[in-house]
Structures are given as structure tokens and as C-alpha cells.
């Protein structure tokens, strides 16, 4: 002890006094306050792990849905494939991709993107399918082409359903991204995994994930309200 003290390494006696909140793995607000910055990077990673897959997934699903809208027979097979991807447990998916795409962001994002496909595809399809025949007839009566019909009539009317799907996809992805650390992609899940037993850690890391999902949910809801003013009149 003396020799080490001379060397400079401080060695406090952790037995003395009541063992602190932190040592007992408790919920310690002061520790959280002091150490909050260690959650910033994982939080930002988590945002990336949510936004990128949803954006790519949306682009793909939207394209597929528009395609299937014209050629109805495609709906079944596409639903089947995206549904199959959706059913693979995420942990298994992260694991399965690793020999092909290694560890890191790429693997995580590929897997997370696949999970958004079914949700968004199905909602866009249902939204387009739910456009009333009268609206379509009226548009054709006005001489709109197929393309104009889609972009000026069908999509605006399908918007609530599409955005609802986007909300579901986004909040689901936040949840799944918590497992991305398994593929070496960090995120809030990595912080959880670092110490399951330290209550402060679990509350902060888990709480941030929930807050993130809630924030995304509200943002998209806000966009939906803004883009569909005619809905507001009917909203409860």
C-alpha cells in the first residue's frame, strides 16, 4: 500500500462509511447528472440507426407499393417476402448477416431496413386501396392521367394511412435498434448491455430510447396534422 501510494495510485477504502448509491447499483440522480455525457454518442448513434433504415425502407416500400397499385397481382408476393423478412427475429437477423457484411453499421442498417418494409408497404397499399371509387371516377372524369391521378388524388387521400405506417415503422425501429449493438453498431442498447444491474444506467439508457421513440412519433404526427388539414375537422 505504501509503495503504491508512493507510486501515485490512489487507493481509497471503499468499505468505510455506508457503501454509496453507485456502489450498490442504485438509482443515483447525482451520478446521472455527472455522467450524462457518456450517453450522448450512443443516443446519436441510435438516431442514425432509426432514421436511415426508415428512410431507405420508405423509399423501397413506397416504390413497391406504387408498383403493386398498378399491378395488383404483385401485392401478394411482395407482402409474402416482406412479411417473411419481418418474421425473422432481429437478433437472429443481425447474427445471420455478419458473415456477409461483417460487424458494424452496415449489418445493422440492412437488418433494420428489412423490418420496416412490410409495415410501410402494407400501409401505403391499404391507403391507396382505401381511396373511394367516387374520387377516382371524378378525377378520371376530369381527364387526369394515371400519373396525375396517383400524385394529385390518391396519394393525398392515402396520406393519413401512409404516415400512420411511418409512425409504426419508426417507433418499432427505435425498439429494434436497441439490439444493434449485437452487430457491433453501438446505440443505446450497447449502454444497456454494459451494465444491466446498475439501475441508474438502465433507467437512463432505456428512458432515452422511449423518449426518442415518443419524439419521433409526435414529430410524424405533427407532420400528418399539418399535411392533412381536412382531417383536423373530423379529428376527435
Amino acid at each position: 500500500m505504501f509503495l503504491l501510494a508512493q507510486q501515485g495510485l490512489e487507493m481509497p477504502d471503499r468499505n468505510e462509511g455506508a457503501a454509496g448509491c453507485v456502489q450498490n447499483d442504485g438509482f443515483c440522480p447525482s451520478w446521472i447528472f455527472d455522467n450524462f455525457d457518456r450517453y450522448v454518442d450512443p443516443f446519436l448513434q441510435h438516431i442514425v440507426l432509426t432514421v436511415v433504415p426508415v428512410a431507405i425502407g420508405f423509399a423501397i416500400s413506397f416504390g413497391l407499393a406504387v408498383l403493386a397499385h398498378r399491378r395488383q397481382w404483385l401485392t401478394g408476393p411482395i407482402t409474402g417476402v416482406t412479411g417473411f423478412l419481418y418474421t425473422i427475429p432481429s437478433l437472429a437477423f443481425f447474427f445471420l448477416l455478419q458473415p456477409l457484411t461483417g460487424r458494424g453499421y452496415l449489418t445493422a442498417i440492412i437488418a433494420l431496413t428489412c423490418y420496416t418494409l412490410l409495415i410501410i408497404f402494407r400501409n401505403v397499399t391499404t391507403g391507396l386501396g382505401g381511396v373511394p371509387m367516387e374520387a377516382r371516377d371524378a378525377a378520371r372524369g376530369m381527364g387526369l392521367t394515371d400519373r396525375q391521378l396517383l400524385w394529385r388524388v390518391e396519394l393525398p387521400l392515402a396520406l393519413p394511412e401512409i404516415l400512420a405506417g411511418l409512425r409504426i415503422a419508426t417507433t418499432t425501429t427505435v425498439g429494434l435498434a436497441a439490439l444493434a449493438f449485437f452487430a457491433g453498431a453501438g446505440g443505446l442498447g450497447a449502454e444497456l448491455d454494459a451494465d444491466y444491474y446498475f439501475k441508474s444506467n438502465v433507467v437512463v439508457a432505456g428512458g432515452l430510447a422511449v423518449l426518442l421513440a415518443a419524439a419521433f412519433d409526435l414529430i410524424i404526427l405533427g407532420v400528418q396534422r399539418a399535411m392533412t388539414p381536412w382531417q383536423r375537422a373530423r379529428a376527435t
Binding site: L4, Q6, Q7, G8, E10, R14, W31
Partner: protein, 323 residues
């Protein structure tokens, strides 16, 4: 007393007092003179600029700390260091080393032999140096150099809460004592997941001590004991918690566990890159790591919940390797 004598006595008293204060107080200016601990400041060598090296580590506290220490030491020497810590278990880490994903990572001598080189746990030499020499030879065949081993070893221990050891375990001090208890097979032992299949862990206990307790698979070592979810737990001898009064160690009297000193395995091409001075730096920073020092560092991460990067940095500063 004459005035001169009083002056001399006063001076002596002052000297003793100053020495006392310096020794017992914390020293922010790095190591004092003398002792085995006065560390040489690591000088940044401009010739090292641009030379890149990747340091890896396995997936628990001590490994993170060691990885950070080696990485930060090389950084101080002017190398460009990439860290790929938390690779996973030893199998993953070893594959990363042989494939070149990382240039070096710290491994335990006993683990190397049993996990990579097919040596049966019982066949590993009990002498730390003999074990190290064997590791060095095996690594050399793979174009990897095993740097000098550390003084401390991090071996498995079985621990129990003090009350449990005095109560249910009837004061048992060795594993044989525990195995002989009438209700031995009803006891619950907690351990990390792959312990269940390791011959130098649960399987070894089953065979050597003829004791088949119930196994609780968990990543936490002491919480299952605290929460009474297990009676005993596989712990590491360098755990900070063992310095507390709350737990008692059960001795491995049949010497099941082989020596587990740390040796940084580094690829030969990387070793050439950092050169002899680089190697010196690496071996210098691990010198002061005694069992107590390692326990202290582990405590800072596991008990005080500090980040390994911070703890490693403080270690290097407190001992005078870096400013």
C-alpha cells in the same frame, strides 16, 4: 539542550513530517523518486507519426482497462492508435488477432493454451513462467509475439457472501470443503455463459472436485450473490469487490485453475512497426500492475462506475507515464 541541538531536532522533525505527508497523501505530480514506481515519462517521438496500430480487447472490465492503457501509452509515444475493444470472448479476439483485424490484444496465458492450442486444462504447467514460455512458443509459430507477462494473474475464484460462507457453507474455506457438504449439489453457482462449457470453469469443477452444483448463467458476478439468486459465484481474482469485506473467497485447493498472467500478443508485422522503443513502452506501463493495483483499477470501473478510458488515463498520469 543547546540551541544548535534544538535547531537540528526541529529540522529533522520537519523533514520527517514532509516525507510523511508526501508519502501518505495523493501525489498529483506523478511518482516520487525511488521505489519501483518512479515512472519514466513517455516521450512522443515524431518518427512514430503516421504509424498506425490497432489495439483490441475482450469483453470485460479488466480487458477494457488494459486495452486502454496500452493504447493510450502508444498514443503518448506518438503512434496513431485505433482501438477495437470489446471484440467478444477469447475465440473472437484470437480470430481478430490472427486475421489482422487487430494488431494486438492482451490475453491470459492459461486461456491461450486451453482455448487456442488444445492443451488440456490439467496439462497446463502450474508454474507461471513455464506457462508463459509455452504460450510464447505457440504464438511464435503463428507469427505473433507474446510480450513479457505481467506480475499479476487474474484467475478464477469462487466467492460467496460472508454471511453465506459462515452460514450455509459452514465456514468452508476450500472448494473441496464445499464439495463435501451434504447439500453440495443443491447449491447454486453463478457464472458467465460460456463457463458452463469450459474445462477450466464449471466442467473442471464437475470433474476434478466431483461436485455438480446448479449453474446460473449471468454476466453479473456479484449481484446474484447480493440478491440471493446464487450461493456462490465464479469471480475474477482481480475484482475490486474482493477487496471489500462483503465477500469471502473459496480456495482452489486442488489447483484446478492454471496460471493466468497477462501477456500482450502482438503481430510480428506490427511489432516491427512500433520497434524496440514501442515494445519498451508497452512493457513499462504494465510493470506497476500488481494484484492490488489491478483491483483498484477494476473498482474504479465496476464500483465507482467510471469509464475505462478515464481510468486508464488516470492510471498513466498518476504513475507518471503521461502528464
Amino acid at each position: 539542550m543547546t540551541r544548535t541541538l534544538r535547531l537540528i531536532l526541529a529540522a529533522l522533525a520537519a523533514l520527517v513530517l514532509t516525507l510523511g505527508v508526501t508519502a501518505c497523501g495523493s501525489s498529483d505530480d506523478g511518482g516520487g523518486g525511488g521505489g519501483g514506481g518512479s515512472a519514466d515519462l513517455i516521450e512522443s517521438d515524431p518518427a512514430n507519426e503516421g504509424k498506425s496500430i490497432t489495439i483490441g480487447s475482450k469483453n470485460f472490465t479488466e480487458q477494457f482497462i488494459l486495452g486502454e492503457i496500452y493504447a493510450q501509452a502508444l498514443e503518448a509515444a506518438g503512434f496513431e492508435v485505433k482501438k477495437d475493444l470489446n471484440l467478444g470472448s477469447e475465440q473472437v479476439a484470437y480470430r481478430a488477432l490472427t486475421s489482422g483485424q487487430v494488431d494486438a490484444y492482451p490475453e491470459y496465458t492459461g486461456t491461450s493454451l486451453t482455448s487456442f492450442f488444445d492443451v488440456k486444462t490439467a496439462d497446463v504447467p502450474k508454474d507461471p513462467d513455464a506457462t508463459y514460455e509455452l504460450v510464447k512458443k505457440e504464438y511464435a509459430a503463428k507469427d505473433i509475439t507474446a510480450l513479457a507477462r505481467t506480475e499479476f494473474e487474474n484467475t478464477f475464484r469462487l466467492a460467496a457472501k460472508t454471511e453465506v460462507q459462515e452460514g450455509d457453507l459452514e465456514g468452508a474455506k476450500t472448494i473441496s470443503d464445499v464439495a463435501e457438504l451434504p447439500k453440495a449439489d443443491e447449491l447454486k453457482v453463478a457464472g458467465f455463459p460460456e463457463c458452463r462449457q469450459r474445462t477450466d470453469c464449471l466442467v473442471g469443477i464437475n470433474n476434478l472436485y466431483d461436485w455438480k452444483p446448479e449453474f446460473v448463467s449471468t454476466e453479473a458476478k456479484y449481484t446474484p450473490l447480493d440478491e440471493d439468486q446464487a450461493d456462490l459465484s465464479f469471480v475474477f481474482s482481480t475484482d475490486g469487490e474482493l477487496a471489500l469485506d462483503d465477500y469471502k473467497i473459496i480456495e482452489d485447493d486442488e489447483a484446478l485453475f492454471p496460471p493466468y498472467n497477462v501477456s500482450l500478443g502482438i503481430r510480428n508485422d506490427a511489432l516491427k512497426k512500433i520497434g524496440a522503443k514501442g515494445q519498451e513502452v508497452l512493457e513499462a506501463v504494465q510493470e506497476p500492475l500488481t494484484l492490488e493495483a489491478m483491483q483498484e483499477l477494476n473498482s474504479r470501473v465496476d464500483l465507482d462506475k467510471q469509464e475505462p478510458e478515464q481510468v486508464a488515463g488516470d492510471y498513466l498520469t498518476e504513475l507518471g507515464f503521461t502528464k
